[in-house]
Symmetry: C2
Subunit: 319 residues, 2 copies
């Protein structure tokens, strides 16, 4: 089902009433015809990028930690961030919401969170699905357009490894939540309101970036994906990781759901110009080298000497 743009396009029924209320709440950012599918024009010559992301209660978030708006915002931001990592421009999103009875009263707040990230990134909500269930789940699929996608396999021997922003906030927020404490406002903001780096990625792509990935599992884990896809060995200098206030290099290395960009490209990219343009740092944290005898992978270093890699983030390994 898609998001209709007025109240007449669906027949009667409680489910449709809930859909109508959500769409009314979304206002102009919800676009659709009330048809079985939404119809989108694609400018000639551009490719479509598609990605899907699901946020499940007690797996990706706990209810006590965030407001409903923040929970929904994060779910949308995680998906949009995949478009950023590809250097794509958002075209549309669909939202599949599984809403348990004990979340019904928060349905408008959840809708608001989706609307905030949709508006912040100019991404029309063109469709969705609303169902009951025993746990809150927010599935977001995003479509973008791109001329030349930034792909993980593009990293080349000799490239410099860059990262946007400052790392560690989400993990420090998580640790505070798990101790039953309030995170600092900065850590909380980094966890609750991550910002997809859409314009940053396009800026970097325009300056010769060869590959990019968004940091969802932790910078070391995600560098592993880049290394695997590009068949390279990536070296990360842990002592060069840009740190959020209060973070150690080890925390910065492991912190997931950052949605900052890990980018490979020429050493000539102007980090000061980047910082002036976007108000966040762009930092050299390592290099891309030839694949070693043990195959593609990541080497972590401190003061130039190899150290064991801090363990990353893996939903299936976490109880």
């Amino acid at each position: 089902m898609t998001a209709p743009n007025n109240h007449l396009t669906l027949g009667p029924g409680a489910e449709f009433d809930a859909v109508r209320a959500t769409i009314a709440r979304w206002g102009a950012i919800a676009r659709g015809t009330g048809d079985d599918g939404a119809v989108l024009d694609v400018p000639a010559g551009l490719k479509i990028v598609v990605s899907t992301d699901t946020s499940v209660e007690n797996v990706h978030f706990r209810r006590a930690w965030l407001t409903p708006e923040e929970i929904a915002y994060r779910a949308g931001a995680a998906a949009i961030s995949d478009l950023a990592a590809m250097g794509a421009t958002p075209l549309a999103m669909t939202v599949a919401l599984t809403l348990p009875d004990n979340w019904r009263e928060q349905s408008m707040a959840l809708a608001d969170g989706i609307a905030i990230i949709a508006r912040d990134t100019s991404t029309p909500i063109v469709g969705g699905d609303l169902t009951t269930g025993s746990e809150l789940s927010i599935g977001v699929t995003v479509l973008g357009t791109v001329l030349h996608p930034l792909v993980r396999s593009g990293a080349k021997t000799g490239d410099t490894l860059w990262v946007t922003g400052r790392l560690g906030g989400p993990l420090l927020a998580l640790k505070s939540f798990e101790r039953g404490q309030d995170p600092t406002p900065i850590h909380r903001q980094r966890f609750a309101r991550p910002v997809p780096r859409l314009r940053e990625a396009q800026w970097l792509a325009g300056r010769g970036a060869t590959a990019a990935i968004d940091i969802s599992d932790g910078v070391v884990s995600d560098a592993g994906h880049l290394a695997a896809a590009s068949h390279t060995q990536i070296s990360i200098d842990l002592d060069r990781l840009p740190l959020i206030d209060g973070a150690s290099p080890e925390v910065a290395a492991r912190s997931g759901e950052e949605y900052e960009l890990l980018v490979t490209g020429p050493s000539t990219i102007d980090a000061l110009e980047f910082e002036r343009e976007f108000g966040i740092p762009l930092t050299v944290i390592g290099t891309v080298g030839k694949v070693g005898a043990s195959g593609p992978g990541v080497v972590t270093r401190v003061a130039g000497a190899s150290v064991p890699a801090p363990k990353g983030h893996d939903h299936f390994s976490v109880p």
Copy 2:
């Protein structure tokens, strides 16, 4: 995350191992680059159609009723059917799977069910998301291409109302399951293995069909959506509904998740030619008329006289 096409493109981790195993199982129908998003080419001049559908355990199905393959097949078929209703050709699908621990052993069977509907409809699986959770949920987003979409709002006064196939099977299967009995093979097949009417919709669009919707809520409810979108009054002759063996007109009127097509168009469409081409009937079941004083809606008739509408299917109203 997207479905990579080999084992090298993701780094280590239990979640990625599970993703890799699924993708290996899918074989050639899974296509992707291992990037944050899948990149798709769109033929110039065509529009994109997108739709999303979620199937949740104990809301859309019960585990005891169907095999894991069938459960996953149905989830995919429901989404693909939305493309059929738009007259679109499948381009790609993404699969968001929430897999509780007590379903882990069935993960390959679930993957197989997705692969069957993907292969049956030539829909590459280009991305997905795998997460834990407390209940099985299968979210499928489909993308299609179309030159002239069939939209719900296209129904016009004077149009004939057509339906494909024979109705009632899914509801009769459901009733048997709920009584703890085995449905007849025909009813079970209609419930467990619905067939998206992709080629049928394109055939009908080519012969002047003005609007279409797939029957997911029940023919009367879905006719209500057509009437609302096209601002018309749709009359359905319940005694003309094409019945599956064992179904009454009332059952056929209420049966949801049929994924047959409800189509408006000229009376001149050749139903015999349709049946020869596709092996299922195409039946006139009513007409499209001017909207009445009470607004757009559906009138149900028996022997030409108005009768109360049989109640449809609404997940939010069903306990």
